[in-house]
Point group: C2
Chain length 162, copies 2
């Protein structure tokens, strides 16, 4: 169903992109941890279609709705942060979220990161997808859900690249 | 950090790829629903790095480990299917899973689908990423986690494309 003459996928990319992808992923968690809505807005793509799946929520596919969700999460009284509204999952507290064990995947103009989010009351695991836009990697997809306990030691912050 | 002279992202792709992407996504859920391990094996990419995040599990980043997990899930006695091992999330029953409301995203050689998984005892929401390999779209990433109730009527099966 796909022209087999297309270039083979997963041609090795410049390693130089991987730090930039991790930088974008870190920017997301820094915006989250600091409750910085403007920084969160800058993280997300402006032209590419976007999708955000907070733990236990339905998917948000509209950029304005996504930013409104972050406004509520980051601005919650007492920094309560993202509240799981679904049948399971965790609760995120602003200023207490930490990303560990990011795994970076890269193919052409799309990168994705699987990582754990360490929270005071448990862990989540996230899939974050990025595309280049205006000279930087911008988030187009975020999906977080429950995860079991993981080793969140300092060594665990070392990214693995695929 | 990225060469701004690169071609703009999200150049409109051939619409003809979208049915092929949905076909690949459907093949995953058909393999799941029918408990067909060989079909599930065929769904997943063989050369690209892969990652599978079952509900409440840690991430599996090794193809053999992923297939072993599916062997256990699809072959569970009584078709019990995927068991959530984490702090939340749902339980999946083989032969009772149904994908609804798939949303397709496509950029170059990478496609991703956000969709709901309808189960007898609740819903999950999934992020599925595909890349072309050997002439077809193959799954490289699956992440499922809890979701609230959604409209799973017949009309909801109509895919939306971004």
């Amino acid at each position: 169903m796909i022209d087999a003459s297309r270039k083979p996928p997963l041609i090795p990319e410049s390693m130089s992109q991987r730090p930039a992808i991790l930088f974008a992923n870190d920017a997301f968690y820094t915006a989250f941890a600091t409750g910085d809505l403007a920084a969160m807005d800058a993280v997300w793509a402006r032209r590419a279609p976007v999708c955000c799946i907070h733990p236990g929520w339905t998917a948000l596919n509209d950029r304005d709705a996504i930013m409104e969700s972050w406004r509520g999460i980051l601005g919650a009284p007492g920094g309560a942060g993202r509240q799981n509204q679904g049948p399971g999952g965790g609760r995120r507290q602003t200023a207490a979220i930490r990303c560990v064990r990011p795994e970076v995947f890269l193919l052409g103009d799309v990168a994705w990161v699987a990582c754990y989010e360490i929270l005071p009351n448990g862990n989540l695991i996230a899939t974050n997808i990025f595309v280049p836009e205006d000279g930087a990697w911008r988030m187009v997809h975020h999906h977080a859900g429950p995860a079991p306990p993981v080793d969140a030691g300092d060594e665990a912050d070392t990214p693995r690249v695929q």
